[in-house]
């Protein structure tokens, strides 16, 4: 059997930048769930939402803080930042502004997309209740630039409401980094939707120098659910250390993403579709880390437990890879390099160089020392964590698939999934494996 080996063909967008290995989804398969996704079969209208949940109870800031602290609500970034601390920081200042970040620049993830289509009023109830508790009348909703259906659904939902709070919508740019917190604040300030140096956290000094409480759609939806149903019900699922449930996106290149709601502590494999069992996956997104099937099979939906495994739950994305992880990583890094905002020297110089080296590793003549050198040069040397996340992905590929990397160095590819042959794959060429 022959082993033919070709460099990954990079498809390009109109502007010449490499395309994302997973394009923006045109549709999302949303499954009913125990908490946030409970009752989605009734539709996304305000009437259905009120029929299910009733009116928003009125809370003051103390009560709200007590609630989010009790359920240990954490954000959906890699750091899983405690929402209670963010709230406390904002409360220290005056005249806060609230921002719902639904831009979801990570194209393979679809959790906020799912909420926009099925539960927009949970998101809006969350931010409106908080606005009233903080006596703020200014709420900004940042809509995704690459998911028109989701953006339209949010706008429809906003139009239905009469809260006495002003909700302004802005559409994010179509880029990976557009959803970064400071980039969002820049966008709302009338400047290009790109990261800039942040001298203080947004919660201290954000939009217009005011304390800015910025979170993604799912976090606001969880606040909404918490306010509408109370802490007891919220904590009735999940674990004592991690109460509640979270949204997961199961994706694979070429498939429609599926969004599930999983209680914390559930087995991750219970949500991975059968046809992907046995495949490794990128967990957390393009800035996440690779996991072998063995790891996935034993993983729990848990921020702490995943961290203990050397991975991160992050936005809850599990991107299964039917093709060689080395190949997918090379394509992803090329894409990420092209998504640099072009503002910070180490990034716009370092990421393309890194992409070149990773492609070289894939082709069998790569320098691992050079990759390490570049990794050290780009990490923590930029206005945002785009280069850091890219390096995380590369390093996880190198450590998790050292075996495959070696095979590539010898001019082959192992593709551990039995004797599966990839024919006419997404690269428009044929790859046969020994």
């Amino acid at each position: 059997m022959t082993t033919t080996y070709l460099a990954p063909t990079i498809t390009r967008e109109e502007d010449g930048r490499p395309a994302s290995p997973v394009p923006a989804p045109k549709e999302v398969d949303v499954r009913p769930g125990p908490a946030l996704l409970n009752g989605i079969e009734h539709g996304p209208s305000l009437a259905a939402h009120r029929a299910q949940y009733g009116p928003i109870p009125h809370l003051d800031s103390k009560q709200l803080h007590a609630l989010v602290k009790r359920v240990q609500m954490r954000g959906r970034g890699g750091a899983a930042f405690p929402f209670a601390i963010k709230l406390e920081t904002v409360l220290k200042g005056s005249r806060p502004i609230l921002v719902v970040n639904m831009s979801e620049g990570e194209l393979a993830s679809a959790k906020d997309h799912a909420l926009a289509l099925t539960r927009p009023h949970l998101v809006l109830d969350g931010v409106v209740a908080t606005a009233k508790a903080l006596r703020s009348r200014k709420v900004h909703v940042v809509l995704p630039g690459e998911r028109p259906a989701a953006a339209a659904a949010m706008k429809r939902a906003i139009a239905e409401r009469r809260d006495g709070v002003n909700i302004y919508t802005t559409t994010a740019a179509s880029r990976f980094v557009a959803g970064q917190a400071k980039a969002v604040v820049e966008l709302l300030s009338g400047r290009p939707n790109l990261p800039a140096t942040s001298w203080a956290p947004e919660a201290v000094k954000g939009l217009k120098g005011r304390p800015t409480l910025l979170s993604n759609g799912e976090t606001w939806a969880r606040v909404g659910l918490l306010v509408l149903r109370g802490a007891e019900e919220y904590m009735s699922i999940g674990t004592p250390e991690e109460p509640g449930a979270t949204l997961l996106t199961m994706n694979m290149p070429g498939s429609v993403p599926i969004v599930f709601e999983a209680a914390y502590g559930d087995r991750l494999r219970d949500y991975i579709p059968q046809d992907r069992h046995g495949l490794p996956a990128m967990v957390g997104g393009f800035h996440g880390a690779w996991a072998t099937w063995e790891t996935l099979a034993s993983a729990r939906v848990s921020v702490n437990k995943m961290r203990a495994m050397g991975n991160a739950l992050g936005a809850g994305l599990v991107l299964s890879s039917p093709e060689c992880p080395v190949t997918l990583t090379a394509r992803t890094v090329e894409y990420l390099a092209g998504q640099s905002a072009q503002r910070c020297g180490p990034c716009f110089n370092g990421l393309p160089a890194l992409a070149k080296e990773v492609t070289a590793v894939h082709d069998g003549h790569g320098g691992l020392e050079r990759i390490e050198q570049l990794a050290n040069l780009v990490v923590r040397r930029g206005a945002c964590a785009h280069p850091d996340g890219t390096v995380r992905l590369v390093n996880s590929m190198l450590s998790t698939f050292a075996h495959e990397v070696e095979a590539h160095a010898k001019g082959g590819c192992t593709l551990k999934h039995g004797s599966r042959k990839l024919v006419g794959d997404s690269f428009n060429r044929i790859l046969e494996v020994a």
């Binding site: 290009p192 790109l194 905002a341 072009q342 503002r343 020297g345 716009f348 110089n349």
Partner: protein, 196 residues
Amino acid sequence: MTAEILGLDGPVMWYLNRSTGVVTIVLLTITTVLGVLAIGGRPAGRLPRFVTQAFHRNVALLAMLLLTAHLVTAVLDEFVEIKWYEAFVPFVGSFEPLWVGFGAIAVDLMIIVILTSLFRTRMKHNLWRGIHITAYAMWALAISHGIAIGTDMTESLYVLTVVCAISVPLAAIYRLGRLVFDRTSTSSTTTPGGLK
């Protein structure tokens, strides 16, 4: 009496005025050339960049000093009537209002440029930069003032002024050439190619 002692009606003030004028033009030209060469950040020859920057600064301040002497002698000199305010307000005098006026505008610009540079770290960088660019206009006005008003240009003074006049455009062409060369050479990409 004082006027006679100081020789204000004699040729001394006039010569002082013209000589300080010429030296000011030379210093301003050096300052501007150093400024042009500093654009884009490649070091000038073997000198470290911060030395070139310090040079630029000190020559500018020296030019300011010479300029002050030039203004004082112009006003004190009684051969030609120039009121003190004509150093700052253009076109209001009786003697060569246009060319003296050019000089006055150059003085105003210089004051603003130098003041903003002394407080550079306390202001928005883009504002400082916008004001600093008017230094080119200031230099051009000063040169024109010198050429037009230098009534008894000797051969050598003429050559000197021409050398000053062409050295700034030459420096600019050289600098642009280097920038283009650096951009197209494959070694390093210190400037961004795309969005900024």
